[in-house]
Symmetry: C2
Subunit: 179 residues, 2 copies
């Protein structure tokens, strides 16, 4: 987010720190308090919508599963369609697949080949920007359908993992930045 | 849905039949066309909202993953909070778990113990009502938090699998019924 934008929430107040999840030494940022409160959740979707609108999207893409929680609500708010990017074997129709590196091993994401097309301006949503590998794979998938990726929005950005570097050239909006 | 309610869409027009997915002999109802079209998706959320409002919910619960696609958008539309019901090991905080039978073997769902509480009226959302086992487990989880389940909404109901019988005593709304 640009420094000039005023957010509707202090996001630190709406995230719950869960130590040692999913493994020892990691402090997980639990979004449940944000989702559970109707006013806070609505404010979050408004903040995402304000960021997304600046890029003129014609479609929202969300990454399974937590990206679905914010992505469809955002699509409804903006009055545009939604495209799911899913784990392997979950999408029933013809798909493109992209694999990406994890700390140990690799993972794969898929998109329907007809999920978007040339002329579509897709804004990508996930709950968390960490190393950027997941979002980078998702952006590649969107481009393989012929569409343009006009920006990416995240609720939380773990700045110390330098995900922005992995997403060079993409415009990134995040509501809550953790250094 | 009651017969008196007029839906905003002919849902058959917005679902894609995918033969032999996820296994031979099954015709999968793909919701992608509905999600991808901004106007159709908005109409679907309006239809779900009209059904849900009749039950006076204070919170929406959605079942991972396709229930997330409709559940959070519905929660925003109604101005209330959202509770995710997830596969095992995905929720970071303290959970309740419920197992249920599948055709072969069993599966488990979890909810945060503080996801809702006594006094909350929870409306449950998933994309599909099939045998009802998943929704029944989800309803049990909601009740274990102390909350009441005031109804369940589905986009598609496979009537021939008799899911309503498994959910006896629960009020069920479905937008598209397949006999």
């Amino acid at each position: 987010m640009g420094d000039s934008r005023t957010l509707r929430l202090n996001y630190a107040d709406w995230l719950r720190d869960v130590p040692d999840f999913p493994k020892p030494g990691i402090v997980f940022k639990d979004i449940s308090p944000l989702l559970q409160d109707g006013e806070a959740f609505a404010a979050c979707i408004q903040d995402l919508a304000e960021a997304a609108r600046a890029h003129g999207p014609t479609r929202i893409a969300g990454i399974e599963s937590r990206g679905f929680l914010f992505g469809t609500a955002l699509a409804i708010e903006l009055g545009i369609g939604f495209v799911p990017i899913r784990k392997p074997g979950k999408l029933p129709w013809q798909t493109f697949a992209e694999s990406y590196e994890l700390e140990y091993g690799q993972d794969t994401l898929e998109i329907h080949t007809d999920a978007s097309a040339a002329g579509e301006a897709v804004y990508l949503i996930d709950d968390l920007l960490a190393t950027g590998g997941t979002a980078e794979a998702a952006a590649k998938l969107i481009r393989r359908t012929g569409a343009e990726v006009v920006g990416c929005g995240f609720v939380v950005e773990l700045g110390f993992l330098n995900g922005r570097d992995a997403l060079h050239g993409l415009s990134i909006d995040s509501l809550h930045h953790i250094d």
